[in-house]
Amino acid sequence: MKEVQEAKDCPAKKARGTFAPFQKLSCYLSTIENLPKLYAICVCLIIVFGLCSVPFISYEEDQLYPKSLDPSSSLDPYDRGGVPFTEPAVIIAQYPENAPAIGYVTAYLTPLSQFLADYTFHLGTTIVAHPGGILDEILYYTRGFDTIVEASILFCAFAIAAFLYRRSKE
């Protein structure tokens, strides 16, 4: 264990000479194992500043894709109105002119979810599992590019993991 520690120390520390403060600092910085800690300290300092500035941050009431609750609806937390295929839901998007078919995806219900919506009050909790709904509208359509980037991140991370794993099997 001591050897490992020594290997990580920089030459200046091994020489056991006099230590200038700057030398100490550069010694700390040049040890790569310390960089995550250094980064964490930087983030902490910024967040402390953020905590002080919280009273000056105000919430903008005029948001995109606002949420509305209607406990009497069977689609409760995700009921945004509209009729499948005929009447699109009213969606407040950033650039509605770039999305001509906006609202149709939100209003769509699969036959199964239509059945559940007609006879139970629990579809709202599972609507994200069906094609259609407000989240699919945002994830696939208006902010679809986000989802493509996200999928690519997952794809590449799994490619890395799979490459390392497969190589160990050879």
Partner: protein, 206 residues
Amino acid sequence: MIEFFAEMDIIYKIGLAVAFIAIIVAFSAIVRQKDEIHLLIIIDLIEITGLVVIALLATDLAEALILPGLVVGVAEIMAVSELWLVKEGLQNVRPVRRLDIEVLHTAPPIIGALLTAYGIFLTGFTGGLIAGLGLALFFLGKATTENFLSSETASGYAWVLWVLAFLIFIFFPSQWFLALMAAAVGIMIKVMAKIALVGTMRGDGS
């Protein structure tokens, strides 16, 4: 209709202060922790604090942003933990011996098939998750790792399907229904393949 944004400003301020305190606590844990594997686990946990700040938005947009955030965290822990195994030379060190009891031979295929069927029936993200869990359970019950490459390829095709769906949405908005179905099937195959991959990635030396 419930008025949702009553006093939203003050709620947001309180929530943000709490989230910031949580971030400070989480990051100070990294400064104190010395062991690498614990660092990795703590960092996987602190990504939740970032999602908390997104959730404070309290709109449908927030829900749609949390999903990519969550997936990025999962992807990174996957790559970095495999890297850690290589770095420490822990791949193939201890062959994992399967618990050899009757229920592990019979139950996984049945439960796996049920979960997979239900997941395909649901489609979409959650459907993919459920179907993937079913497949993971099935592979965990088996000793071999033969379907590793094929599930990787399947997820590649699913990715292409998804990009195609997005392009249909953008260039042919009138065909939104086709695009929606393509995206739902694509994401289901993709998530399913990824989760199933986890089921086949084990440390067994066979």
